[in-house]
Symmetry: C3
Subunit: 203 residues, 3 copies
């Protein structure tokens, strides 16, 4: 991985973390949690997947070493906390869904790229990419005592953007063209597929 | 540990993973989860305990490095998914219970052996063996929002095969006769005790 | 860190583990869990936070290497198990609450000290201190299928002793006076603040 890939990966991670943290904070507000509860669910949803990925890879989790990573969920929690009146507007939920789809695609790519950079085989890289993408949402659901939405049968394609993103990153790497420009691009078709799946209710 | 022990441990692990993954997939089907939900619960139940063991030991989890480990739960999920009509037959549940008992015994042995191989003391090795045996079931229960059955008071001896298996492995090691032939044998009395406990409803 | 700091940290950890394990065992008894369930919840509540801290730092979790660490929850579980008649006395719950507050303060300090000793930055050290303090309680709540009490809005300042403890340790370190005598002292104001918050129902 060159420097550009790392910078691109960094910003993709932060964007994804912010989107996931928004979802987590929403769940906490809906459940009437306190300030600490909203913060913890935002942190859990935003950082949980990446934390799992880093523990498996065997590096110190970036969630605890980079300020940007743990301040992002704080920002998301504040946004959600101080806009609670807006939440009733149903349009907000749709926006959250779109952000979640984007975050799944981004995490699928960055997770797979990081795993490849640490000499994991490609099936493991796909698995780690998907795990890092769905991990945060599952953690925050479990903390809020809800069945993770990704497990329900109506949500079968929730995982599609993550799988597509991770798969695209693997393909780019196989052709030797994975770099700081193509990595973010790998997330685009994954995001598009995810949107299509949501809109047309593919199952 | 010599090569034979490793091969024996490998096959014991795979057998145990398959049995645990069947249980996890059953829970998912009972809860009406989708394809991804069944897969995730099968993977979680099959690999969760070993993942925890490997993270504690400080090695890259074998669940993410060896194809056999993550394909086993996929196979178990497929078997459960495409045999859902058979599930109503009460005999199936009994078979699952027997498989679970065997898997607990096998994981107790392999977890303890792996911990000993990484210079853990014997009480730690027993604890890690038991944790690796019960971890997967607990993880899949939590993901499905059920109280893990191993915690309920009617199930007090659920953990018996794991403790016996881990203890037998420790004993064999203390006498210097732990190898690829005796390790699987250590699982046999553990399995037998577990079956007796289930049959006679020991508490 | 000198030897004195380590000894002080060791006893602070053990005290905190015992207090948390009592809480965990109480939850298990209230939920009618069996012997294994009480043991597991005591171990989870007592060791969960430190286990998470050690995995993030990247060292072999002390919970699996030091006998004292895993025997402490066993002792707590036995105390709770064989005193179940006393539980109805409402005074017991108040004692448990005070012990929990003390444990939060102690874990906040020891978590932050351990993180600083492994070259984490101070915000990360605070985050790890807090995570190690609240982690065990959250784990045992999730295993018992209850919403972790630290997340509820009535409990907003549950986390206060942990934050104050971690923050005091950081300050002591910044002034170069963190040692085996001042570290336990850092827990005292945190404990006091926590008691005040509980008594006056600060929110």
């Amino acid at each position: 991985m060159n420097a550009l890939t790392q910078v691109a990966g960094y910003w993709m991670d932060l964007t994804g973390i912010f989107a996931f943290a928004m979802s987590g904070a929403f769940v906490a507000v809906r459940k009437n949690f306190g300030v600490f509860g909203v913060l913890l669910l935002a942190e859990g949803a935003g950082l949980g997947g990446g934390l799992f990925r880093d523990l498996v890879i065997g590096v110190v989790p970036v969630a605890f070493t980079d300020c940007g990573y743990y301040l992002m969920p704080v920002a998301a929690a504040l946004v959600v906390f101080f806009s609670s009146r807006v939440h009733r507007h149903s349009g907000v939920l749709a926006v959250i869904d779109v952000c979640d789809t984007a975050a799944l695609a981004l995490f699928g790519v960055t997770g797979a790229v990081k795993a490849l950079g640490h000499d994991f085989s490609w099936p493991s890289a796909v698995a780690l990419g998907v795990a890092s993408a769905v991990g945060g949402g599952i953690l925050s659901s479990v903390l809020a005592m809800e069945v993770p939405s990704s497990l329900r049968w109506e949500q079968d394609l929730y995982v599609l953007p993550a799988v597509t993103g991770a798969g695209s990153a693997i393909l780019l790497d196989a052709f030797g063209v994975l770099n700081g420009v193509t990595a973010p691009c790998a997330a685009v078709p994954a995001f598009g597929l995810g949107l299509l799946a949501t809109r047309h209710r593919w199952r």
